[in-house]
Amino acid sequence: MLSFIGRSFFQKIVTLFFVSIVSFLIIHLAPGKPSQVDPMNPKFTPEMVERFRQAFHLDKPLHVQYLYFYRDLFSGKTISWKDNQSVLKKIGERFRNSLPLFIVGTILTWTISFPVGIRSAIARGGIYDRSATFLSYFLISIPGFFFAYIMIILVVTYFHVPVIGMETFGINNTAGLSRIMDRTWHLMLPSILGATGGIAVLSRYVRGQMLEVEGQDYVRTARAKGLPADQVHYKHALRNALLPFVTMFGLILPGLIGGSVIIESIFSWPGMGRMAYEAILSRDYPVILTVNFVSAVLVLAGTFVSDLLYMVVDPRIRI
């Protein structure tokens, strides 16, 4: 067990190292230079460009730039080229904004998709199953931005609540309860939209898993013993069907940082995804690379956690 953990940890570190190299190369070998962001700006004289290049080591060869960048990253000194702010501080700030979206979205995804998936597996082929199936394909296929506009129109027309941004401008002066309600309304729509895709995919997955287990011999045996249907479904089948989902807890970690670029830019939500988008637009390489690095760390940490969880719940894996 310990050797497995050690081996897997070492593997993850090596992968991370290569990810850092690949992402650095992708960014720096792409055509165009960060110092040419604004060539029409009269204040951007050649001397300025030269000073800029020197300040950010852009005149050095690539491998030296790589070393400089990751030295700065690990000592927490990386600064954004755009506004000279500390990148980690910026990310931390945006992360706090994205966190409520992520938490509400995850809770919605996991609480809705399980009942839906289990019920459509039990009532396979029935009207409920077929409509749930079609609805989930519908939600997977609808473009997020289109769906967002439909929802905005509906909610604004019928409920008369504000939806854009994190809170209504100037709401800070009002009393506690209305402020909380305001925040809740603003939070609701983007997190529902962020969760729809997840609900659709996860409920299909739950259904498939449940169906597979329902076809097993031990479920037939349980049914043949004359156990009540509920006991067969929820005690014998469901418990075994849940196994793969325990490991999926690890895989939701990357969602923390990925966020949704499109949803956040539609709702003017100052979260991670929008910061990354703005960084891409202004060619702010340190921010792009740091976001990339942090999300790679989260992906690897997620798979690591899911491997561990799998070992805990499934004794067959322990070798």
Partner: protein
């Protein structure tokens, strides 16, 4: 007498087939037809294909039937099925059929013509991007699955490194040193080809060092897949597309290059199990070449899951392209795509809702049809998922 009797009974058996005679295709169609949603998906897919092809011919050329670029500022934001105001239009500005089928946008361009033009973009993005990713996936997965147990030796690494350096130097216009590196790489490769047999004990030390085993091919490819999976895909695509010059081909290539990992895993898994099967052993015993075994004997058996994931991949590639167009990347402005019609139209969502809803529904229907068709294929091609009868 006895012999005759035997022959008669053999004939009898041959004339009465015990199992229904259906070809694989007929069996496939029989199963597929039962899934009504999948049939619906197939119908819409064929319709979309024809529309996109027709759109390519009707909207391009010097004098197109539907001109997507015709600007009529006096006729902006007309609703669908509106009659044009003939007094204010020149003769060549009058829309085809004398009606704005899907209305006009904020510059008075016919939305119907723009949708037709955009259909071809969506179609090609979907197919080319998925084609690239499936080709890479089959190549990498086949390599990992079939030749996976082979070791990469130090000499391979050295010659690959020398080749890469040489090509890099050539690209940087340093011809002599670049050529030198390439010659070194070729020499190393030749040395390897001559001494193909495993190094014997009496060989000199440097030879044994050169042939030291490092990784297996399988490890190398699958670790590379792991590395690629670490990138958040939409963010990676966005980054690369934003850095590259705006062009539809760049989008196809980038989406293709960032989505081959699934196909690689499928093909590898299939190949690993097929390689151990008897028919492959028989093919090898017959002395067939690796190439023929892979493409004639193994690939037809491994292609089903790849086809399914490719169909669903087309759907997600179309969605990704629409998302990129929505964010303002991708195809440069005068050319219409469904994503940028919607993105331009969203400013007029209350005054001209058709500018948002027509492309939105078009994307939805096309993506939905690909998803339904793909799921139907999966159900039919995977015998384990079939309903018990």
């Amino acid at each position: 007498m006895n012999v005759n009797e035997n022959a008669a009974s053999v004939n009898f058996v041959l004339e009465e087939p015990t199992a229904p005679r259906r070809t694989r295709l007929q069996e496939f169609w029989r199963l597929f037809r039962r899934n009504r949603l999948a049939i619906l998906g197939l119908v819409f897919f064929v319709l979309f294909f024809c529309t996109a092809l027709a759109g390519l011919f009707l909207t391009s050329g010097p004098d197109p039937v539907f001109d997507p670029a015709q600007i009529r500022l006096q006729e902006k934001l007309r609703p669908p099925l509106a009659k044009p105001n003939l007094d204010s239009l020149q003769a060549d500005e009058v829309p085809t059929f004398g009606i704005y089928l899907f209305g006009t946008d904020d510059l008075g361009r016919s939305v119907f013509a723009r949708m037709l033009q955009g259909a071809w973009v969506s179609l090609t993005v979907g197919f080319v991007a998925v084609g690239i990713s499936v080709l890479i996936g089959i190549f990498m997965g086949g390599l990992a699955g079939y030749f996976g147990q082979h070791h990469i030796r130090v000499i391979h690494v050295l010659s690959a490194a020398a080749l890469a350096t040489g090509l890099g130097l050539l690209a940087a216009a340093q011809v002599y040193s670049g050529a030198l590196f390439i010659v070194v790489a070729l020499a190393l490769a030749l040395y390897r080809a001559q001494n193909g047999a495993p190094p014997a004990r009496q060989m000199p030390l440097w030879h044994r060092l050169l042939h030291k085993k490092t990784l297996t091919v399988d490890t190398l490819i699958m670790r590379f897949v792991d590395i690629m999976l670490c990138f958040p895909s939409f963010f990676l695509i966005l980054t690369v597309v934003a850095l590259l010059p705006a062009s539809i081909y760049n989008i196809m290539i980038v989406i293709g290059l960032t989505s081959w990992m699934g196909a690689t895993r499928f093909v590898r898994a299939e190949f690993l199990s097929l390689r151990e099967q008897d028919f492959v052993a028989a093919a090898r015993a017959l002395g067939l070449s690796n190439f023929r075994i892979i493409f004639r004997h193994m690939m037809p058996n491994a292609i089903a899951p790849v086809l399914v994931s490719a169909t669903i991949g087309i759907a997600s590639a179309i969605l990704t392209e629409a998302g990129l167009s929505f964010l303002g990347f991708g195809v440069p402005p005068p050319h219409a795509t469904w994503g940028n019609i919607l993105s331009d139209g969203k400013r007029f969502i209350f005054d001209a809702p058709w500018l948002t809803f027509i492309p939105g529904f078009a994307i939805l229907v096309v993506v939905l049809s690909f998803n339904l068709f793909g799921e139907g294929l999966r159900d039919v091609l995977n015998p384990k998922l079939r309903e018990r009868q």
